[in-house]
């Protein structure tokens, strides 16, 4: 549903055949990845059965499933995890593209405005207060409060007279993130070892054990946020030309930036709160796609969402099956792929002296 919706938005804002072809093929790839990721695992379920089980459980069809055990594995263990991966990947990919456009900086990601450090701080408080054992929801809620609070503080610090200069925002972001990071470390040094391990597990970023509760928690805010952010793609294009150009065609760059920052903070915070800090998705996905489709946000934003979802699904699949029957955190996989790419990018931009 999400994908069809995304496709609609893109097709409506861009009437070039080439771009719509790319979107449709990405939708196809994403669907394929979702089915494959659901089917593969410690217990291998045939693809056809996987599709049948999913459709049956949504009450759309009434296929006969031979192996009853498959039903619970597919629908209650793997499929919600795949959906969470899709949502989180889409959110991170999109917000990465948005941030890079907003800050006109290829190295920007949601971490710039303190989302990650704030979320970590929230999470560590939830752990320290032993709230994670009380309810599954405490950790995400604390994480999202932490993320939004730190984003708000950074924004307020950087703004003067209604204007928020990009450079000030980045510097304020670094300062506040470092400060919050220190507070997190301070708490970590004072809590029990099992709690530290719990935090570590969260902070690496993992999709392990994500269930329908996580889907329910994140689906609505992420989907709405994605639609809103994609609807700002024209404004983001204008902002890419610079503040002066935006002003002269009637777009208040400060107001637009504030609105876009607000929604991308929420979307990122929600994603981080259900999956922990999964690094590099927001960095590399938009970059690869920008090389394919160019800088136009009307196509880049929806594609980054789709691409982010595909990338995270694949990384999560690798994380699950690489040391079967055990698994590693998906954040480790994305970082193992992402960090070398980041260095390559850094090297390239230094050599060429220009931003991508």
């Amino acid at each position: 549903m999400l994908l069809i919706l995304l496709g609609e938005i893109v097709l409506n804002t861009n009437n070039k055949v080439k771009n719509s072809t790319i979107i449709i093929s990405f939708l196809f790839i994403l669907t394929l990845c979702m089915v494959i990721a659901t089917a593969i695992g410690a217990v291998r379920v045939p693809f056809l059965d996987t599709i049948k089980i999913i459709l049956n459980n949504f009450g759309l069809t009434h296929f006969k499933i031979t192996n009853k055990r498959f039903d619970s594995i597919i629908f209650y263990v793997r499929f919600p995890r795949v959906i969470v991966a899709t949502l989180v990947g889409a959110a991170l990919g999109l917000c990465g593209a948005v941030m890079q456009g907003l800050f006109r900086n290829p190295m920007a990601d949601p971490g710039i405005i303190g989302i990650s450090s704030g979320a970590s701080f929230g999470a560590v408080i939830a752990i320290a207060l032993n709230l994670t054992t009380v309810s599954l929801y405490f950790m995400p809620v604390f994480a999202i409060i932490g993320a939004l609070t730190s984003a708000f503080i950074i924004y307020r610090l950087a703004s003067s007279k209604g204007k928020v200069p990009v450079l000030t925002l980045i510097l304020a972001g670094i300062a506040v993130s470092t400060f919050i990071g220190a507070l997190t470390s301070l708490i970590l040094s004072r809590i029990a070892e099992y709690q530290v391990r719990e935090y570590l597990f969260w902070s690496i970023g993992s999709l392990s054990g994500r269930r329908w509760e996580h889907v329910n928690l994140s689906a609505v805010p992420i989907l709405i946020g994605i639609i809103i952010l994609v609807s700002f793609s024209r404004e983001l294009n204008v902002l890419l030309l610079g503040e002066e150009e935006a002003q002269s065609i009637g777009l208040n760059p400060y107001r637009a930036r504030r609105t876009i920052l607000f929604f991308s903070s929420i979307v990122t915070a929600v994603a981080v709160c259900v999956s922990g800090n999964i690094g590099f998705v927001g960095l590399i996905v938009p970059h690869i796609l920008r090389l394919i489709v160019g800088p136009d946000n009307r196509i880049l934003l929806p594609l980054s969402a789709l691409g982010g979802a595909v990338f995270l699904l694949i990384c999560d699949l690798i994380a699950r099956i690489i040391i079967m029957p055990s698994e590693i955190g998906v954040g480790i996989v994305t970082s193992l792929v992402g960090a070398p790419y980041f260095l390559f990018l850094l090297n390239k931009s230094r050599k060429e002296g220009v931003a991508l």
Binding site: L240, G242, I249, L251, D296
Partner: protein
Amino acid sequence: MKEKVIEIRNLSFSINGKEILKNIILDVYKGEFIGLIGPNGSGKTTLLKSINGINKCKGTIKIEQQDINQLTDREIALKIALMNQNTIIGFPFPAEEIVLMGRYPHLKKMQRISKNDRDIANKYMKFTNTFILKDKPITNMSGGERQRVLFSKVLVQETEIILLDEPTASLDITHEEQIFKYSKEMSKNGKTVITAVHDLRIAAKYCDRLILIKDGRIISDGIPKEVLTSENIKIAYDVKAFVYENPFTSLIDFYTYDRKNLDKNIHVICGGGSGSQIIHYLFEKGYRLSCGVLQYGDTDFINSEIMGIDIIKCMPFNDISEELMRKNIESIMKSNLTILTNMFIGKQNISNLIAARYSNDLIIIEDTPIENRDFTGGEALNIYNELKKNAKVIKSKELQKFV
């Protein structure tokens, strides 16, 4: 009277306590093509950005009778388009997409770019000769191409008022005047164009009206001839200049100079262009100069007149009268030095040669032998050879050694 499109009253603007604009009062009428001139930092850009509401100022600005503070950003963008100075775009958008961004204020949220919008973009891209560039990324364009694309974007906004901030700064002469030509055409079609411009010759050539700003104040406002005077240029740019009509193009031209005043008089006997460079050199050196007798229309006459030098004048194709001869001799006698240039000598100007006898000190410039320059049948030759006895005879390039 034409319709007033901009009315500015008592406009002031300060940044960090420093006043950039001071009490600006200005009326702009429909179809005018106005050049804002003035030295760097005089407030040209600030004034443009105030007119389209980017700078929040004291005082009132009315656009088509509406106070600018009561208009939203989008409403302003539908009335006024601004082309910023030196816009560098770091992202490889194709030209057509850049130009289409000018349609932004016309589109509602989520409204698609329509066929009509594309037609408008194509129309103006053809007008500015950028249609062939429509798929070329702006990052790969030359300065001239980029400025024309950005200018198209401003036109695509389809506003009544167009503000340009030094649209041709840093362009080579091939592209320098194009945007002014296009702007002139737009103003003829009823658009009001205000452009900041640093090249005074171009400003005078294209604009109907010039506004000279210095330290945030309008110090002159009117047609180019009224505004571009030596006095105004001295006040605004702190440079001495003669303003004259270029005889070749009949456009306003400038001759800027820097000279001290020396207490020494030099009289130059010249004609037919033989004296122009010498007079120019002596003028910049700071001598008090006179020259003559020269006929109206002579090259030396025109050039000396631009520099405001005393000329003893006679009508063309006339012999020099006794009265003028007497004046010439007086002038020569008053001068510490007389210079006789490498001029041709005929019946009409032989009396100039005779007058040279009265010089206190004489330098004769001889680049070509007198025999080749004498059109009097030997009369001049005799006088000339007699003059040479009491004079320094030099080549024109040696002049610097003697004065």
